[in-house]
Symmetry: C2
Subunit: 449 residues, 2 copies
C-alpha cells in the first residue's frame, strides 16, 4: 500500500480510537512517519500508541522524535523501557537526545544504560558542539587484516546488528591506529578467499574529532562517501560519521548561511520554537551596527542639504538610486559568497571576479540608465538636465555597487573573515553612501547647483 494511503488509514483509525486495528497499520509505516503522527496526538494517547509498537520499531521511532515528545515519554517510561530505548537507539542518537534534556532526565537515562555505553556517552558528550566528535558514532564495524572475505562476511553477520553502518568496515592495528577501509560492496564482489589486508584501501581519508562538522560534510559531498572515519590526535580510530548525519549537517550549515545573509546571528532552534527574546537578541546586534553605519549616508545628505533644497525634485530619486545600488551590489556579493562556499571561486580569482562584475555592471547599468532616462523624459518632460544627471548617476552607481559587492566577500576571505558577513544588508549600507556621493556630485556638476 502506498505511504499516503497508509497514513490516511492510520489517522482515520486514530479518530475512531480503534487501537487494536491501528497497530496492524502503524507498524507498516516508516519510523519517521510514525514519529510525525505521534507528535500530533494528545499526551495521554502518546504513551499508549508508543507501547503498541514492537521494541525495535519503538526505538527507531523514538530516535526520530522531537525533544519535547522524547522528554514526555522518558518521564513516563518504566526503567525497562528506558533501558530498551537506549539499547536499541544508536549511541550518537542517544547523545543528541541527551544534549536537549533537563539534568534529571539525563541522570535517569545514564543510570539505566550499561556501564560501557554510559562511559561512551559521557565521552561523546564532551566533544565541542559542531565538532566531528560530537556527530560521530562509536558503533562501527571492525575487521581484522588477516581475515578472508568469507570470514569477514561471517563476522559482519554475527557482529553487525548493533552497528550504525555495516557497509564500510575498518581495519585497525593492535593499538587502534586506522590501517585501512573496505566496503561490503568490495567484499561481495571479490573472491571468497581474498585476504582483507591485500584488498583494503590503505590511503584512507578521515577527519579528526576536533575538526568542524562542516569539514566532514564537505568530504561527503566531494568523495561521495556513505561513511567517514573519525580519528583522534594520535590517529586512533574512535568513530564514524554516517551519510545521514552528514546530510543533517549540510542542512544545518545552509540554514546558518541563510541567517547570516539576513544579518542575524546564527541560531540552531527551529523558527517557531525560538523564544521571542532569543530571536530579538539574534537580530538586534546587526540592526544596530547597520543603523550606526547609516550615519554616514545621513552625513552625506546633510552636507548636500543646500543643493537638495535648491532643487527639491532631486530628493525623490534617492530611494531609486540607493535601492538599485543595493540590489546590484547584493546580487554580486551573494553569488560570490556562494561561489566561495562551493570553492568555485578562490581568493586568487579576485581579479577575474572584478573584471567579470565590471562588464556585467556596464551592461546592467547601461540598460537601467537608458530605461530610466526614457521614463523620466515622459514623467518630467521639462527636466532634461535632471533626467540626464539621474541617469548618469544610475550608471556609475551600478558599476560601483557591483565592484564593491564582488570584491568585499573575497577581501573578507583574504582577511580570514567569514565572507557571508558581506551579505546584502552590509553591502546595501556600504553601497548607499557610495550611491549618494555619486548622485549628488554628478547632480552638482551637471546642474550647477
Amino acid at each position: 500500500m502506498k505511504r499516503e494511503n497508509l497514513i490516511k488509514e492510520v489517522m482515520n483509525l486514530l479518530d475512531k480510537h480503534d487501537f487494536a486495528e491501528l497497530k496492524v497499520w502503524l507498524i507498516q509505516l516508516n519510523p519517521v512517519d510514525i514519529a510525525e503522527i505521534l507528535a500530533e496526538v494528545p499526551d495521554e494517547t502518546l504513551l499508549m500508541l508508543f507501547r503498541i509498537l514492537p521494541k525495535d520499531l519503538a526505538a527507531d521511532t523514538f530516535s526520530e522524535m522531537d525533544g519535547d515528545e522524547q522528554e514526555k515519554l522518558l518521564n513516563n517510561f518504566t526503567d525497562q523501557e528506558v533501558r530498551d530505548v537506549v539499547y536499541e537507539m544508536g549511541l550518537d542518537d542517544t547523545v543528541d537526545m541527551l544534549e536537549e534534556m533537563p539534568a534529571n532526565v539525563v541522570r535517569r537515562v545514564l543510570s539505566k544504560a550499561s556501564p560501557e555505553d554510559r562511559k561512551t556517552i559521557n565521552e561523546l558528550l564532551k566533544y565541542p558542539e559542531d565538532s566531528a566528535g560530537a556527530v560521530m558514532t562509536t558503533e562501527l564495524m571492525r575487521l581484522k587484516e588477516n581475515m578472508t572475505v568469507t570470514e569477514a562476511l561471517d563476522w559482519i553477520r554475527t557482529h553487525g546488528d548493533d552497528k550504525e553502518d555495516i557497509y564500510t568496515c575498518y581495519v585497525t592495528s593492535k593499538d587502534q591506529i586506522l590501517m585501512g577501509v573496505i566496503t561490503v560492496r568490495e567484499l561481495l564482489l571479490d573472491k571468497h578467499n581474498s585476504v582483507i589486508g591485500d584488498i583494503m584501501e590503505r590511503n584512507t581519508i578521515e577527519v579528526r574529532t576536533n575538526d568542524d562538522q562542516e569539514v566532514a560534510a564537505k568530504l561527503f559531498d566531494r568523495y561521495n562517501f556513505t561513511a567517514l572515519p573519525v580519528v583522534d590526535m594520535d590517529n586512533h580510530l574512535v568513530g564514524i560519521i554516517t551519510v545521514d548525519d552528514a546530510i543533517d549537517v549540510m542542512t544545518e550549515e545552509t540554514t546558518e548561511d541563510f541567517q547570516k545573509l539576513a544579518a542575524t546571528t546564527p541560531s540552531e532552534e527551529p523558527y517557531l520554537k525560538t523564544s521571542v527574546f532569543s530571536m530579538a537578541g539574534h537580530r538586534i546586534v546587526w540592526l544596530i551596527v547597520l543603523m550606526v553605519s547609516d550615519l554616514i549616508s545621513g552625513g552625506i545628505l546633510q552636507s548636500f542639504q543646500d543643493a537638495l533644497t535648491a532643487l527639491p525634485i532631486l530628493i525623490s530619486f534617492i530611494p531609486m538610486l540607493t535601492d538599485t545600488g543595493g540590489n546590484a551590489g547584493s546580487q554580486a556579493s551573494t553569488l560570490v559568497i556562494r561561489g566561495l562556499a562551493l570553492k568555485e571561486i578562490t581568493v586568487k580569482d579576485a581579479f577575474k571576479v572584478m573584471w567579470k562584475e565590471f562588464r556585467v555592471a556596464v551592461i546592467c547599468g547601461a540598460a537601467l540608465s537608458v530605461l530610466n532616462f526614457a521614463r523620466m523624459l515622459i514623467q518630467f518632460p521639462g527636466q532634461m538636465a535632471v533626467s540626464i544627471a539621474v541617469s548618469v548617476a544610475l550608471f556609475f552607481t551600478v558599476i560601483m555597487a557591483k565592484a564593491i559587492g564582488g570584491l568585499l566577500p573575497i577581501a573578507a576571505t583574504k582577511l580570514k573573515l567569514d565572507p557571508a558577513l558581506m551579505a546584502s544588508p552590509l553591502i546595501t549600507t556600504i553601497v548607499d553612501s557610495g550611491s549618494l556621493l555619486i548622485y549628488l556630485n554628478v547632480a552638482k556638476a551637471l546642474l550647477h547647483i
Copy 2:
C-alpha cells in the same frame, strides 16, 4: 600515506616530468583528487597522464572531470577508449556528460556504446531537466521474490559489478511493477534460508520519473535513505537515485535559493564559467522590476516635497529609516522563507508567525528607537522635536517591516508562488514605501509642517 602528502608527491613528480614514478603514486589517489590534478595540467600532458591510469580508475576519474576536460579527452580518444569509458562509467554519469557536449561528440560516444546502452542513454536524455528521471540511473540490483538470502547474496556477487548501488535491492513482478525493497544489511543479518518475499519491505517509498529532483532529495533527507526507487506512471520500476546524486541535487537547490535571495534568476553554471551576457541577463530582470517599484517611494517623497524643503534636516534621516526597515524586514522574511523550506513553518502558522514577529519587532524597535533618540540628543541638541519624530517613526517602521517580512513569504506560499520571491530585495523595496509614509506622516503631525 595521508592524502595531502600523496598529492604533494604527485605534484612534485609532475614538475620533474617523472611519469614512470608518477604512476605509482597517482593510482593511490581517489578519482576525485586525480580529476582535480588533471584539470591543472597542460593539454598535452592530460591525455598522457590519463593513459597511465588503469582502466577502472581511468573511467572513475573521467566521470569526476569537468565538461571541458572530458571534451578534450574525448576528442583525442581512440574508439576503444571511448568504448571503455562509457562501459565503465555509470549510465547516469554518461548522460550527465553528454548533456554538456557538442553534437559531434555526443554522436561519437553514442555510436561507440553498446546498442542496449545507447537505447537507455537516449531514453534518459529525454527526461525533463531537473526531473527524477534525469538524475536516476537504470543500473540497479534486482532480486527475485522466491530467492533465499544465500541465493540473493550469490546473485549480487555475480551480477553486482556494473550496478551503481548494490546495498538496496529491488523486487519486481513479471511486468516490472515494484513489489518491495531489501537492503544488503538485512540480507547479511537475516538467516541464510529466509526467503526474500517474506522479509522484504513491501511498503516502498518511491518517486515518479516526472517528479522534481528536489522531491527526491527531500525524501533522502527525511528518511535517511541511501538509494530511492524511481517508477513511471504505471508503477514500473525504471531506475534508482543514489545518495551521492541526491547530495548534488541538494547543493544545486541551495545555490538556486541563494540566487533567488539575491534577486537573480537561477542559473546552474559555476560563477567563473558563466558568460558576462548570461550573467547580466539573469540579473537585469529583477533590477528593472525593483527599479520600477521604487517609483512609488519616489512619488511619496515628491508629495511630501514641501515638508522636506521646509525642514531639510529631515532628508538626512531617510537612508537610516528605509535601510533599518529593509534590514528588519529581510531578517523576518529570510528566516520565514528558510522555515517554510524546512517545513518548520506551514501556511497554517501564519498567525503564530505574525504574533512572534510583532513581539520581536516591539523589542528591536524599542531598543533601536531609544538608541537613536540618545544619539540625536547628542548630535542635534536643539532639535528635540525632530529627534522625537525620527525615533517614533523608527519604532513603527520596524514593526511594519517585520510584519510585512513575516507575512509575505507565507502569503506567497498560500498563493502557490515560490516564497523565495519575497527575498530581501523585494521586501526592502516594499518596506521602503511604508517607512517613508510612516516617517513623513509622523514628522508632519508632530512637527506641524
